[in-house]
Amino acid sequence: MQQFVNVTLSGLTQGMIYSAFALALVLIWRSTRIVNFAQGSMAAATAFIALAIINAGASYWVALVVALIAGFVMGALVERIIIRPVEGGPELNAVIVTLGLFVAIQALIAIIAGSSFQSFPTPFGVRGFTIGDTTIALTPTSLYVIGSVLVVMALLVALFRFTRTGLAMRASAFGQEVARLLGVRVGRMLTLGWGLAAVVGSLSGLLIAGGGFVYPAYMDSLIVFGFVAAVLGGLDSPIGAIVGGLILGLALSYISGYVDRGSALVNVSALVILMVVLLVRPGGLFASSTARRA
């Protein structure tokens, strides 16, 4: 029983991070119909920026804010300079460009910051709370993770629901031509969307790094998990991405918790889950539209 609670709790915490990352992918997919495979590398880059600031003596929070701003700038720049020429073109070209970006940024990190493992601090403790005599897997850090992801999601919902900018962004994602005719600066909205997505992605990168180690490729499996979570939710729906992330987090946590030497199987399990979902429900678990032609 105690193990079950612990595995579930850590699954939920991981799941929240996957959700955030999946949300970043979904934000970009909705506006530009591109899956940003470079999201992980971009997030890793901001994590290394944060680490450099912390090592220079600043507090975690300063580093967090700077890293998120850096993520926003990077996302916006990437959209403007690199993605714009392939937007609306054949989907293969955009995929290849984001993959190129993925390798290039990762290599650049390794050249600048080195490939070694570096420990990344967390503002809160990593010792579990105790209830009675037993220590459970819920730590102050995991509360911080869950809390910050929830806050960011609430902010995003508020942005899209209650502001004119959010409305304009939704309009340009819904129909570029129509939005442009109605006076929406679609190009700017796309740039803004990429920037925001990069902020969410960076946050998930910083959260998963907290209390652990970072190295240039530490986000590799998170890209896969984020993608699987996003596809679970249909790639089109933000709520779907969040639920998909939680489901995936729990599933992977049970596998690594209960299967003997299961941690080696986590990546393969993600692959199997993805394949099953794509074959059984290609539109995702919560597809709002009828299945798109696969």
Partner: protein, 397 residues
């Protein structure tokens, strides 16, 4: 040469190269679609039959390869051996991506399947002879084919980013199995491969050709070259056959292809299977050349490097795949030295190669989506179309 046989629709007369290159999607595919010089009615010294022409090219390439391998030093020989396995895998991938429009980031994982199969079959008890090498490589191809078919069935229903994501998961996930089943696959350490001794035929042959010593390295380079030539011969014939044409139809016009009675799914799976077979052979050769099958050999960077090779060379072109693979082999030592000169330490300098791959992918996709061979071919076609128009104008005048 009759006017009606102007090669591809995209290269109509009077259009500039710039116009052609701007129409990236169509021109890129058109470049892969160009009929051979013979089919287009151009002047050519090559035989008319596709089979004979390809056989002749293979023969000439074989002679060229022998000369190249005999005049170069052992280090270059081993580099050329690496080139062969990259080129085999890239050839398979360019058929899949260039001809059939399916992207795969999982070819590194499929190479791993071939490599581990070869390594397992070469591991025998002391004193016991392993199976003959061609048979082992064949088994590796078959194993990769089976895995490729499984993946292909799933992949046939996906497209673009979905397919990229699914195969990405394959590339990241599959090496984990080698770690999980460490009893069989040796875990993180991987399996050591004892490369078989060169046969007597080979020793005699080298004696005859150059009199140099027939070392193991040289044998592996020749073995890789033989595999490469066979693979490219088969792939080239396939591309020019009914099957290749059907793949192109599936890529370019799904609806029209379906109306013509083509079952999209079946042909997509077939493309994946063929491509996986090439990856399996590449993995087998790689295991022999590297003498190791370990998870660290089959990272995501390998799959992305293969993608770089075919994008740079030109999607759908075997020559492009070969040139791109040459880049994968000869670029890293070059840029690593460059990095060392700039004062980077060795691990940092080793990262310059992936950096270049990434930048190449981005730049090529934005500025020359048809790749190296495709862009050259387009220029050639444009020039020819211009000449044809000029000729016609002169006739009228």
């Amino acid at each position: 040469m009759s006017e009606s046989k102007t090669p591809a629709p995209a290269a109509g007369p009077g259009r500039t190269t710039e116009e052609l290159i701007e129409e990236a999607p169509f021109t890129a595919t058109a470049a892969a679609n160009v009929p051979s010089a013979q089919a287009a009615g151009g002047r050519s010294f090559l035989p008319k039959s596709t089979l004979l022409r390809h056989l002749l090219i293979v023969l000439l390439s074989a002679v060229g390869a022998v000369i190249l391998l005999e005049v170069t030093d052992p280090f270059t020989n081993s580099q050329l051996a690496s080139l062969t396995y990259y080129a085999i895998a890239a050839g398979g991938l360019t058929v899949l991506t260039g001809l059939n429009g399916q992207i795969s980031l999982g070819h590194g994982a499929l190479m791993a399947v071939g490599a581990y199969t070869t390594a397992l079959f070469l591991q025998t008890e002391r004193g016991e002879d392993p199976l003959p090498l061609p048979l082992i490589l064949l088994v590796s191809v078959l194993t990769a084919t089976v895995v490729g078919a499984l993946v292909g069935v799933a992949a046939a229903r996906l497209h673009g980013p979905y397919l990229a994501g699914a195969t990405l998961a394959l590339a990241v996930g599959l090496p984990g199995l080698a770690v999980y089943f460490q009893g069989t696959f040796g875990g993180d350490q991987g399996l050591r491969v004892r490369a078989p001794q060169p046969p007597d035929v080979f020793t005699n042959f080298i004696d005859l050709v150059s009199g140099a010593s027939a070392t193991g390295t040289k044998w592996l380079a020749y073995l890789g070259t033989i595999c490469l030539l066979i693979t490219y011969f088969l792939l080239a014939n396939l591309m020019r056959s009914r099957i290749g044409r059907t793949w192109r139809a599936v890529r370019d016009q799904e609806v029209a292809a379906e109306l013509a009675g083509i079952n999209l799914g079946t042909w997509r799976v077939l493309a994946f299977v063929v491509s996986a077979a090439a990856a399996g052979l590449a993995g087998g050769v790689m295991a022999l050349v590297v003498r190791l099958a370990a998870p660290t050999n089959f990272t995501l960077v390998l799959s992305l490097a293969l993608l770089t090779a075919i994008v740079l060379g030109g999607l759908g072109s075997l020559l492009g795949a070969l040139l791109g693979s040459a880049l994968l082999v000869f670029l890293p030592p070059f840029v690593t030295d460059l990095g060392a000169d700039l004062g980077l330490d060795s691990t940092e300098a080793a990262q310059i190669a992936p950096l270049v791959y990434g930048v190449v992918l981005i730049v090529a996709m934005i500025f020359a989506p048809a790749g190296f061979v495709g862009t050259l071919r387009l220029r050639w076609m444009t020039a020819r179309a211009k000449r044809a128009t000029a000729g016609r104008a002169a006739d009228r005048g």
